[in-house]
Subunit: 288 residues, 2 copies
């Protein structure tokens, strides 16, 4: 099976699991609907697929429990998007071509939908894996020393000229904001599928490159795509005073860095059954 | 050791653990400070003490791991307060005699401090207990079918006259909002200390009564205390159109219900080593 076949096969399974369980497992139908609205808004399911591709590379079968874990990751990712879009944060009206949660349902509702998705995501990871190690990995990745810490640095650095040339701080912010959760998908996969130390080290090296490159890719999409293509407001980072790798390096050097990371990421997979993982890097072709 | 001695002994240990680890374990000193501000604002540490009293009643020693679990619960409780106080929710300026998080640090900062405390709380519970069962209990208790679901019903029912006389719906809202987390403290304690089935059933019955009565107590405090005594704005539920047991039953019947629950809660402890747990009910004396 190649990357596209893998992606197509499991994306529909993930989508169905999410739709079914957000509907059936939540008592209150209104909050269930608000949570589902954002989760089912058509994400690429990149993070759950990355977890599944990691365990697949280690020869582990994918069944309902593995799907539950992967969907738990998607819930957490969705919570982070809902909160990032809030008026007090990035104040976005559209995401994936649809009104953002607070614009559609109200601000309190959006905050609470995020607050409900976060623990449900961890619950699904715990139930699917029965592994305390996975719970430790995910909670560390999304807290103050991970994703939320990155978002904090982001709001703290926006429109801050002192930060604009601080490449190291921007690297750290982008890693925490996006890289940590991506790395956690791969690390959880490696631990769950009981990878040997050597394979785990290679997978984590791949995750580091992929996580770092993904943020550069996302920034490049922001300036190279039209709003319609991206389903959200683009060219927004510059307008809103955001500092990122792109504003530090410029477009051409960012592309070069993305290409370098892509090549390096592929090299980390040598000796692994990493065909499908390598396929994730092809995503970047459209901005290279 | 009686309840007061137990409370005094462990409250200072809890406070020190929280202060030390929020400072030392979080890389970014600014977000660490914002998280600490609310956690160290002088809560009663009721929920961590309840967990510790439960394991104590089952003969389990209290050491650093048990303190870490109990403090994880307090982080989660604090996150819920920070988000409840937000402008889009209850819009409170003061809590425990201090400015609320968003009034002190800004709205984005308060949302993110909550978003960081939640996973850190689960992480501490996971690290302290190494128990996937405890992770499942806490995540279920604080999600859409628990605490956040209660908060959703609360904002949805505020100023809603159709709800004002719906005692059943108000009961459910109050149980989810407050009772679920209190029950989880006791259930986690029972599972962690490996209670036999009979003791566990008694403890859970106690937790149901205590959780239900605590919300009534909290509503009574709102009308019987002055703002200065309570450290936050009081008489606010009525002004803001909140529906709760008090607005349905009135003060006298609420007091009677609280007294009835207190007596019943004590009866559930018969046959257990429950002297300290029973002491929690004395908290209610000041409104009875």
């Amino acid at each position: 099976m190649n990357f596209t076949e893998f992606k197509n096969k499991w994306t529909s399974v993930i989508d169905e699991y999410l739709a079914t369980h957000l509907k059936e497992d939540i008592d209150d139908k209104q909050i269930s609907q608000i949570m589902s609205y954002s989760v089912m808004a058509g994400g690429k399911r990149l993070r759950p697929l990355l977890f599944l591709a990691t365990i697949n590379s280690l020869g582990k079968e994918i069944g309902p429990k593995e799907i539950q874990i992967s969907c738990g990751i998607e819930l957490i990712h969705t919570y982070s998007l809902i909160h990032d879009d809030l008026p007090a944060m990035d104040n976005d009206d559209y995401r994936r071509g649809m009104l953002t949660s607070h614009r559609k349902w109200g601000e309190a509702e959006a905050i609470l939908a995020g607050d409900a998705l976060l623990p449900l995501g961890i619950q699904w990871i715990a139930e699917g894996s029965n592994s305390i190690a996975l719970v430790k990995i995910i909670t560390a990745a999304i807290g103050a020393n991970g994703m939320v810490g990155g978002q904090y640095l982001d709001i703290d650095s926006t429109n801050n000229q002192a930060v604009a040339d601080n490449e190291k701080l921007i690297d750290r912010m982008e890693w925490l904001k996006t890289g940590c959760l991506i790395e956690a998908c791969v690390e959880m996969g490696a631990v769950y599928a009981e990878a040997d130390e050597q394979s785990k080290a290679k997978l984590l090296a791949f995750a580091k490159d992929f996580g770092r490159s993904y943020q550069i890719y996302d920034d490049l999409v922001d300036i190279t795509e039209t709003s319609q293509e991206a389903g959200k407001k683009t060219h927004k980072d510059q307008e809103s005073g955001k500092n990122n790798t792109l504003t530090v390096l410029g477009v051409e050097k960012s592309r070069q860095e993305l290409l370098r990371l892509t090549i390096h990421a592929k090299s980390t997979l040598v000796g692994l059954n990493g065909l499908i993982l390598a396929g994730f890097l092809d995503l970047y072709q459209k901005v290279l």
